[in-house]
Amino acid sequence: MSPVLSIHDLTITFGGLDALSKLNFHVDEGEIVGVIGPNGAGKTTFFNAITNLVPPTSGDIRFAGESIVGLDPYHVTELGVARTFQNVRLFPNMTILENVMVAQHCRTHQHAFGALLQTKAFRREEREIRERAIEVLSFFGTRLIGYRLDQPAFVLSYANRRRLEIARAMATQPRVLLLDEPVAGMNPKESAELTALIGRLRSEWGFTIVMIEHDMGVVRDVSDRVVVLDHGETIAQGSFDEVSNDPHVIEAYLGRPVEGAS
């Protein structure tokens, strides 16, 4: 089976510093891969490179066999890669429902004229967008549903903001979902709950998931495979148990103080 997302010799340089150097990586369809590494290892840059928010200096990124280097970020999303952000970046003044509705932009087609003339096609699509948004939000139980739909996102609690961000990414109907520290800032009960949800994201929604996470418990629970980054390079990969006993990894983590969630 060919990998859905593969990365070859990816290098990204910021002002002379290599944020990523010659990184190789792949994800197979339906896999859940955890990416770990100490702070500053280049994990978020790695996500930024995949979604093309940061241009690679050299190397290649292939999605379903085709190179996506140099595409606009929206185009990458359109192909089927969605992400969340480490420091939650919602659209705070839009309602919860709108946050999820807007994420379906690249899956829908109605233009201004449809809206102005209120065509049948437009109204049907609006209805579908709405239904789909509610469906996605319902995935998180009652937390984002009901009276909350019409509230602006900024009134949400931190945990719910994380949930909403995942919901927003789900709404783009991706094949690969990139989660950047999904349980950061959550209490143990909440993160256990979310861990279970991540498993269901694969089993029920069929997403392939790449997840950056500091919480080793979560990584252990859901990852099929773990990739360890340090100084922009892959220093180990394999199952959680393999990786956690790898001397390189231990050195990388003990060499500097390990920090928890931000």
Binding site: Y74, H105, V155, S262
Partner: protein, 596 residues
């Protein structure tokens, strides 16, 4: 509300605060006097023989200072003191210090002549400050007036809130009724009620003391009687279920539309002219609202599209057009205008759309100037008439009616038609795929792009829609004035529309409309007189001050959007529910988090 500490001792004052605020008050008073407002606005009376607009521009300052001095910053964990005599004393003292500023000015003007740089350092100012009763009187009277006004301002902390609200409403109404004299007279005349205005305004010349007092008393009575009714209505409205609320909204809208359609029939030329001018700015503001308010693109060259609409209409309809003069009917021209505006919108938008927001602002400002300079230039004067503009633009022939400048009512109806289009377009787009994309871009452009939105095309679409709405305004403007000159398209126009949008509330259709009506109607546009046309040169000063004030104190605009008030309501609900232990404990998680 109940847990307040007992009032402070009478002399337990925050002296530094009093002196600081007093000094600011004094400086503000001196400033207002020296920029000449006191003298120049003295001809516009608010209450005949007792109060002119000139004096009004200074007396509100100590009142506000008196109010502010004992308005504490509410700190968590500190129980505020109950308000009492010490607060009133603080207010009076602040006012006194402020008034001393004017006393000082009286002495200074009397002894030094620096009329050379300061043009308002004049005997008239001195006369006016001393009420022509001598220097000594002038010095003392301002101390007294200052203290009195400061005291009055601070009283609102002490008296029952209802009383203070009644007084404030009464004062506000008196001033508004006086400012709106032209409008009210005109309206009542339309209904054949001239005798009312003859009494109230004593045959056109500001309120009399009697009418002001009666008006104040009536308003106070109504305020007290109606106390709580407004809230009740609001609560009842919020309690409605969705379909009923929809019906209620529809009813409100229908009523509004009816009023707008019928009202002009009862108004005279002056008011219709004013309404037509206001309408042109509503149209511009609605267009800019899409660009700035929805999509978050700060376009400072917005006037360019207004100009394009105007000049396209002029060239295509006027027999005097220097270049081609097809003299097409307006109904045809409007489609050409749409195409021209869209084209210019794309041409201007494409190079700037990828720039950072603030670079974009300055570059669009440059484009606005380039467009004006091209229309003005001798180089293109064989096409657009240069400095001499294009004249003899014919009235709009609609077949069943003719819209021309000498009949402002017809112009108003035409503007209303275009405003309706603009409102419809804004409203429909706001809740569409494109509108959501705009809002996402406004909130966070990078994330919007990562969520699959092609930001370049979405922003260009906003640019083009805004451009088309502005060009409608330009087209009607050209037909209304009957001639068009480059001097109507200064940067100033862009800025004033921006102020209107900001004051009304970005992204809020109703707010923007109200903002335009209040600002353009009362203060006037860049070249259009408002109801307070005496303000003349101070208009821009006020616009500038208003813009700063709004940004600092009320960035969401005058009229909070429906969504916001709704959301406040919901927050209350959330709080209550949380107290009752019915909601999950998200709130706690949120509080402890610093990273947000």
């Amino acid at each position: 509300m109940s847990d307040t500490a007992p009032p402070k001792d009478l002399f337990d004052q925050d002296w530094r605060r009093i002196v600081r605020l007093g000094a600011i008050t004094g400086l503000s008073l001196i400033f207002v006097a020296l920029i000449g407002m006191l003298v120049q606005l003295d001809t516009r009376l608010i209450i005949r023989r007792y109060l002119s607009l000139g004096y009004l521009t200074i007396i509100w300052i100590p009142v506000v200072a008196g109010y502010l001095v004992s308005k504490e910053v509410v700190l968590e964990g500190v129980t505020p003191n109950r308000k009492g005599p010490s607060d009133v004393l603080a207010g009076a003292l602040t006012g006194l210090v402020g008034g001393a500023g004017l006393s000082l000015l009286v002495v200074l003007i009397d002894n030094f002549d620096i009329r050379d740089p300061l043009i308002n350092w004049s005997p008239q100012l001195l006369d006016q400050l001393t009420f022509a009763k001598g220097i000594g009187f002038g010095v003392v009277i301002w101390l007294v007036i200052g203290a009195g006004l400061g005291l009055f301002g601070s009283l609102s902390h002490v008296v029952p809130p209802l009383a203070s609200r009644a007084v404030n409403t009464a004062l506000f109404t008196i001033v508004s009724v006086s400012i709106l004299e032209t409008a009210i007279t005109d309206l009542l005349q339309g209904f054949g009620l001239s005798f009312v205005t003859d009494v109230v305004y004593a045959k056109r010349g500001a309120l009399t003391l009697t009418s002001a007092l009666v008006l104040g008393a009536v308003v106070m009575a109504i305020t007290v009687a109606a106390s709580g009714r407004g809230r009740e209505l609001r609560v009842r409205y919020d309690a409605l279920d969705a379909p009923r609320r929809k019906t209620a909204n529809l009813g409100l809208w229908a009523a509004g539309v009816m009023v707008l359609l019928v009202l002009p029939l009862f108004l005279g030329k002056i008011m219709n002219e004013l309404l037509a001018n206001v309408g042109l700015f509503v149209l511009l503001a609605l267009g800019l609202n899409i660009v700035v308010g929805l999509a978050g693109i700060l376009d400072l060259g917005y006037v360019a599209f207004f100009a394009v609409g105007g000049y396209t209409t002029a060239v295509l309809t006027s027999p005097n057009s220097p270049w081609i003069s097809p003299q097409l009917p307006f109904v045809v021209v409007i489609f050409v205008v749409i195409i021209a505006a869209a084209f210019v919108g794309l041409a201007v938008g494409a190079p700037v759309i990828r720039m950072r927001g603030d670079y974009l602002a300055i570059v669009t400002l440059g484009f606005g100037e380039i467009v004006r300079l091209l229309f003005l230039s001798d180089w293109l004067s064989p096409y657009f008439g240069g400095a001499q503009g294009i004249t003899n633009i014919p009235p709009v022939d609609l077949g069943f009616a003719e819209v021309k400048g000498s009949d402002p009512r017809s112009v108003f109806y035409l503007v209303l038609f275009f405003c309706a289009i603009a409102i419809y377009v804004s409203w429909r787009l706001q809740s569409s795929r494109l509108g959501r994309a705009w809002m996402a871009i406004r909130e966070d452009e990078k994330v919007a792009e990562a969520m699959g939105i092609n930001t370049v095309t979405a922003k260009l679409a906003a640019f083009v829609v805004g451009a088309i709405l502005a060009s409608f305004s330009g087209a009607v403007f050209a037909a209304k004035v009957g001639s068009i000159f480059p001097s109507s398209f200064l940067i100033l126009v862009s800025i004033i529309i921006l102020v209107v949008v900001i004051v009304g509330g970005m992204g809020n259709i109703i707010g923007v409309i109200v903002g335009a009506v209040v600002l353009i109607g009362v203060l006037g546009g860049p070249k259009q007189p408002g109801l307070l046309q005496e303000l003349g040169t101070y208009k821009l000063l006020i616009y500038g001050a208003l813009l700063v004030f709004m940004m600092l104190k009320r960035p969401e605009g005058l009229i909070p959007s429906a969504r916001r008030s709704h959301e406040l309501h919901q927050e209350e609900f959330l709080q209550d529910a949380w107290l009752r232990g019915e909601v999950d404990h998200d709130a706690e998680a949120g509080e402890g988090d610093a990273a947000t």
